[in-house]
Amino acid sequence: MSFVTVAYGVVFYVATVVLVVGVFNKVVQFARAPAPLKIPTMPAPLTRHGAAGRVAREVVLFESLFRSDKWLWLFAVMFHAGLLLVLLRHVRYFLSPEWGVIWDLVVLVQPFGLYAAFALVGGGIMLLGRRMVLARIRYITSPSDVLLLLLILLIGTSGALMTFVVHTDIIALKQFFVGLMTFSLNPLPTDAVLLVHLFCVAVLMIVFPFSKLLHAPGVFFSPTRNQCDNTRERRHIAAWAASLESDCGS
């Protein structure tokens, strides 16, 4: 087995472990941290179902962003919807037709996923341009903000290149990844574009749990969005706060 195959195999095992364990840890940390006070941004839904709907609208429609800035909303939707479709399209490199309905869905998404790359890259370029052009956004941009966008743009463009210009040996690639999933190593094609693409993906996976990409799990735990408005009806108290009760007389 070639050095490249072994190296990429190791890198992807490491990246997967870091991503899964890292995000899991963060989610546990978010979930375990108590929320001692009810702080939904009002007006808020009165029920937990309503609050779940609010979070869902935030995740799917970027509702608050829409109220704030229509251009930014458009770029963000292009970028994220593009990313989602591209990722869904990639499921076919890990599954086989035996998966039935799921496979049918993967097949269904292919044509959309194909052109979603342009939305991803186009949206990303606009987001990057905004950081350069608008003075106040430039002010709040740190190097890591630019680097993360560049990384995703590199992934997007290298992927699109392979889809539309310089095709890689996709059969061999699939065998490589299916092999990794069953702990056997199959040779990885070694064309440069593919290697760049995969390396960047692995970097992104490793960086994910330590970076602002945590906004993805974070949005589900945001108390201003996921809490409902029922404080007069139900007493809400955190364990650590309950310990203060004893020193107040009653």
């Binding site: 978010f30 941290a33 108590p34 929320a35 001692p36 006070l37 009810k38 702080i39 941004t41 009002m42 007006p43 808020a44 009165l46 935030e58 970027f62 608050s64 962003l65 109220r67 704030s68 800035d69 930014l72 963000a76 905004r130 003075a135 106040r136 956004i137 002010y139 709040i140 740190s142 190097p143 890591s144 903000d145 680097l147 960086v207 330590f210 970076s211 602002k212 945590l214 906004h215 974070g218 949005v219 735990f221 945001s222 108390p223 201003t224 969005r225 408005d229 404080t231 007069r232 139900r234 007493r235 809400h236 108290i237 955190a238 650590w240 706060a241 203060l244 107040c248 007389g249 009653s250």
Partner: protein, 499 residues
């Protein structure tokens, strides 16, 4: 009049985003608390020697205590959606007054000491050591946030800068670097029972003076009871209502409404304050201690209901936190929400036909409403979401001949802070207060110009004090600001149709 430049107002509100003016407000900071202000709150008297270690320790504690802080520090993507939403940024152009940049003052230290990349790569991910300069920057800019939550409306992750600045202020208090204004006031509440330090006898004097005034003016014997055991309702109202203008007109209005409703009520000299500055300094413990004065007063006076007067952050603490901080309220009458807002009480009375209002008493007035930030985004009134916008408008419209809303980008949950909230209503921050009022004043001037608006009602003691002081800088008469229940007070017909 002023030692600083008054912002130039634009004709069209909410469209004028300033260019960035780095350090434009770096000189603006409130007086630091002295040992005598800190001691009663249990905070160190002055900046402790090992302040860095203590500050980081406290930050670690808060991260374990508040999910909001943890999630908000981790989730920001620096998209800048919030950047042009803060009234202090719009009024000053100082980029550190952009909510995201304000959060980053704390986030940079969080990343440096509490995250792996911050420890490894430092400035690449915007991480900074906690130096004296950083601490000074915290003190400066976390006292340029009025915790109004407008940024949280527009953040795609709901990040609320108020939570961040509360945490920062709590950390600073724990190393002996708190703010004089807030800590001095909280100490007064612990000692005397209200922000102004009005002792029982002074309060009693004031209230009986009001009784005489109302009797003279109306011929009706409207009572202003103090410490009456067995009264139905405990009224908890901001202490400014006891004497400041236009606040006191509101208090007279509450008394007339209670009189007309035929209910017995009382003020407590022990809990003679609705405000709870414990929220401003981000201290759960202080908030808890102040809130429990209300519980004790309610139990001692054996009341059945608690009604709050017009005060913004007080209503947030009351509506959203009181059940948590000082509940359960199982000893009160379960037929009424605890606590209730005076506007809920009055609008309910109107709907039931228990009060007659005569608009002609306010003839010539054209009203608009400043939705107070903490009422708008931190609480509710009535039984539907958004009732906090509906009920005050309904009440004002019942009292005056004409009502006009300001620009929709500046009302309801998009309302701007008055510029003096969040523990910033102090003379040592006058420049900030004047500049922070800019977005609201623009919208007010527009309706004054286009719709002939003569008065702006407010339902918050801080807003009333702030506007009274700040509007004259923009050539608007200080008497433009009125209490909602000041309007009720004039319009109400006493002695008619008791329910």
């Amino acid at each position: 009049m002023a030692k600083f430049e008054i912002p130039v107002l634009s004709e069209e509100p909410a469209e004028d985003v300033p260019g960035i003016a780095v350090n434009a407000m770096a000189h603006s900071r409130p007086f630091v608390a002295k040992p005598e202000h800190n001691a009663p709150l249990g905070f160190p008297g002055a900046l402790v020697d090992d302040w860095q270690e203590k500050a980081l320790g406290r930050m670690g504690d808060l991260l374990k205590r508040f999910r909001s802080l943890r999630v908000f520090l981790d989730s920001c993507v620096k998209c800048g959606s919030c950047a042009d939403k803060c009234h202090y940024f719009l009024g000053t152009g100082d980029p550190k007054n952009m909510p995201v940049a304000r959060q980053d003052l704390l986030r940079s230290v969080y990343r440096r000491y509490f995250t792996l990349p911050g420890k490894m790569f430092g400035s690449l991910v915007g991480a900074r050591d906690l130096t004296q300069d950083v601490l000074e920057e915290w003190y400066t800019y976390f006292h340029q946030c009025s915790q109004c939550r407008r940024c949280s409306v527009f953040c795609p992750y709901g990040i609320d800068t108020a939570e961040i600045s509360m945490a920062a202020r709590d950390i600073m208090d724990h190393i002996g670097y708190g703010q004089k204004y807030c800590n001095e006031i909280i100490a007064k509440v612990h000692k005397i029972g209200n922000n102004l330090g009005l002792p029982g006898p002074a309060l009693s004097n004031t209230l009986s003076g009001l009784e005489e005034d109302v009797l003279d003016q109306t011929g009706h014997d409207v009572k202003f009871p103090l410490d009456v055991e067995g009264a139905d309702i405990l009224l908890v109202t901001p202490s400014a209502d006891f004497f400041a203008e236009p606040h006191v007109d509101g208090l007279i209005g509450y008394a007339k409404v209670f009189h007309q409703a035929g209910v017995s009520w009382t003020v407590s000299s022990y809990a003679s304050e609705a405000a709870n500055f414990g929220m401003f300094i981000g201290s759960y413990e202080q908030m808890h201690k102040v809130s429990n004065r209300i519980r004790k007063a309610a139990q001692d006076l054996k009341v059945k209901r608690i009604v709050f007067g017009e005060c913004g952050h007080a209503w947030r603490v009351a509506y959203s936190f009181l059940n948590t901080l000082a509940g359960p309220w199982d000893f009160l009458d379960p037929n009424y929400p605890v606590p209730q807002h005076i506007i809920e009480f009055t609008t309910d009375l109107i709907r039931r036909g228990g009060v007659t209002l005569d608009k002609s008493a306010n003839a010539g007035m054209v009203l608009t409403l400043h939705d107070s930030c903490n009422v708008a985004r931190g609480a509710r009134m009535g039984d539907q979401p958004g009732g906090q916008f509906v009920l005050p408008r309904e009440l004002i419209k019942a009292c005056v001949p004409k009502y006009v809303d300001m620009h929709p980008e500046t009302t309801h949950d998009k309302t701007f802070c008055c510029g003096g909230g969040g523990g910033l209503l102090t003379d040592d921050l006058m420049e900030l207060r004047v500049k922070g009022a800019k977005p609201r004043v623009e919208a007010l001037k527009q309706v004054m110009r286009n719709d002939g608006v003569t008065h702006m009602a407010s339902l918050c003691a801080i807003c009333k004090s702030q506007f009274t002081k700040v509007l004259p800088y923009y050539d608007i008469d200080m008497e433009t600001v009125v209490s909602i229940h000041g309007l009720v007070s004039k319009a109400i017909r006493l002695g008619t149709n008791h329910v």
